[in-house]
């Protein structure tokens, strides 16, 4: 398989590093290889941060930040969208525009009394990985459930993001 390269864009404290690491652990529990690492400075909370994730069927040796992503997940709307890249963006509307999916992730989480919407985006990402990149996500979901690396509440948010994104695809 071609390496799937994902960039997560967020502000420090929105939990994007957390979902990137959890997803990497889950993917590593299947037969695939996954590498995840964050990029931030000393300022942390509230400042712009990135996290990177590579998925492959062979060992990943590179350690540099991803420049040409396959998928971008963002907690805020971007000024520019590159052609050929799949986007999942937290937005005020639920709409698909070619390869860009705008999802009301924050609103969905708030409706469920949760201030954090990172798991809604993770659910959306799993839909994209399954539908657009033919990744078998059952093992990943089982790992989340079985190994309890995410709480029941977060799993609920993940499911909401999963279903909503599926509708938009």
């Amino acid at each position: 398989m071609d390496t799937i390269k994902i960039i997560f864009l967020a502000k420090g404290g929105e939990g994007i590093k957390s979902i990137s690491l959890k997803l990497a652990k889950a993917i590593n529990s299947t037969g695939l290889f996954c590498q995840s690492f964050p990029e931030y400075g000393p300022e942390r909370s509230g400042s712009y941060i990135s996290a990177y994730l590579r998925i492959s069927d062979h060992e990943i040796l590179s350690h540099y930040p991803i420049k040409k992503p396959t998928i971008v997940i963002s907690t805020y709307e971007l000024q520019k969208y590159q052609k050929g890249v799949f986007y999942l963006v937290n937005s005020n509307q639920n709409i698909r525009n070619n390869n860009i999916i705008f999802l009301q992730a924050k609103k969905l989480a708030k409706k469920n009394n949760c201030p954090f919407f990172n798991f809604v985006l993770l659910g959306g990402l799993l839909t994209i990985l399954e539908k657009q990149f033919n990744l078998d996500i059952n093992e990943i979901l089982n790992y989340f459930k079985k190994d309890l690396i995410i709480s029941k509440k977060d799993f609920g948010l993940l499911s909401l993001g999963f279903i909503k994104t599926k509708q938009l695809l």
Binding site: A24, F33, C34, Q35, S36, P42, L61, S62, H63, Y64
Partner: protein, 366 residues
């Protein structure tokens, strides 16, 4: 032996190896990018998963001094630091090695001030490269785990008895999560030497003093003996690396038949391997053990090659490029058929090192 495949970050892998080695004393002053190691060890001790004593003193100078004292009493000791913290330890580093005390230190390689920078390069460990500590450099999360266990084993080898630094790239491999193979606690327990009271300051049947004055008639001999021990340690390290369950070597060679070679250390080696094609005329010599420096092994691989490009993540600040460049050049100097040797600086203060940068260097020298 039971082996598990799990996902860990570099800091977690180092903390796991330390926890499995179960040092009697851990002393450290938390510093970015290795703060997490002390968090994890502190949690382990709090949850009674380890029986170590953890000291968080007022500075890195005190932390390494505590390790010195504990090691002199034959306790297994560990610490973790980076950058300014390592430089603050400098005065004591030479005392630890001069007294031949085994201590394992994890360094999350980080740039030194000024200007202030918390990201990766090798300026910190290169500044203390000649302090008598052995230095291992890890390319990946797997190597961080393996080299930490090897460091405990080798530092306590009675023919070595020297402190060892395990260096990992700050915010690169320290924070990267990857799939690695780890041993169970029983295996590590059997693998590492059993601590005894032999040669301890607390061996009251064989009382001794340490750190005494050496006058001119003795000082030079003692320092020369220290250097001889460091030199001789290379063969012991080599044997231990090759017999280790996850086989390692002082150096690793990629594309051995190539006529042009990169020489590099730590995480950038992975990126170089993925960038160079298998049938390329460019190869890589990765140095895993920087101290003792593998002169003979480097000569064996690089003599007769067309050219060698040494990649450095540190500057000598004397107009001569990087530290590794000087070392490789010096190793090859006496060879009649030595290659042309050039130095390139990359990745200072965390500047990313992309495949395009590697290709640019190849184009420049091809």
């Amino acid at each position: 032996m039971r082996e598990n495949t799990i996902s860990l970050t570099g800091n977690e892998a180092a903390a796991l190896a330390i926890a499995q080695a179960n040092p009697q004393l851990i002393a450290g002053y938390p510093i970015t990018p290795v703060t997490e190691i002390l968090h994890i060890l502190s949690q382990n001790i709090n949850n009674k998963k380890m029986i170590s004593q953890l000291i968080l003193p007022e500075s890195e100078h005190s932390a390494i001094s505590a390790c010195l004292g504990a090691s002199a009493c034959n306790m297994r000791t560990a610490t973790a630091t980076a950058s300014q913290g390592l430089l603050l330890m400098h005065e004591v580093l030479g005392v630890v090695s001069g007294l031949r005390l085994p201590v394992v230190m994890i360094v999350g390689n980080r740039a030194v001030s000024a200007p202030l920078n918390i990201h990766n390069d090798h300026s910190d460990t290169m500044a203390i490269k000649d302090s008598g500590w052995l230095q291992f450099y890890a390319e990946s999360v797997q190597e961080i785990y393996d080299l930490t266990l090897l460091a405990f084993k080798l530092s306590e080898d009675e023919n070595i008895n020297l402190p060892i630094m395990v260096c990992m790239d700050g915010f690169i491999t320290t924070h990267e999560l990857n799939k690695i193979k780890v041993f169970d606690n029983e295996f590590v327990n059997e693998y590492l030497p059993k601590k005894t009271n032999k040669n301890s300051l607390f061996d009251f049947d064989d009382p001794k003093t340490m750190g005494h004055l050496a006058l001119p008639k003795d000082y030079q001999n003692l320092r020369l003996k220290l250097e001889q021990t460091i030199k001789k340690s290379k063969e012991i390290i080599k044997q231990e690396f090759s017999s280790f369950e996850h086989k390692m070597n002082l150096i690793e060679v990629y594309n051995p038949l190539a006529s042009n070679f990169f020489v590099c250390m730590a995480s950038a080696c992975g990126t170089i391997k993925e960038t160079l094609k298998k049938d390329s005329d460019w190869g890589l010599l990765k140095i895993s053990v920087f101290r003792p420096f593998p002169n003979e092994e480097i000569i064996q691989i690089l003599k007769g090659k067309r050219q060698v490009i040494v990649l450095d993540k540190s500057l000598t600040l004397k107009g001569n490029g990087g530290h590794l460049y000087e070392e490789v050049r010096s190793a090859l100097y006496d060879q009649d058929n030595r290659p042309k040797i050039y130095g390139e600086i990359y990745g200072l203060g965390g500047k990313p090192f992309y495949p395009k940068d590697i290709k640019k260097i190849v184009k420049k020298y091809d």
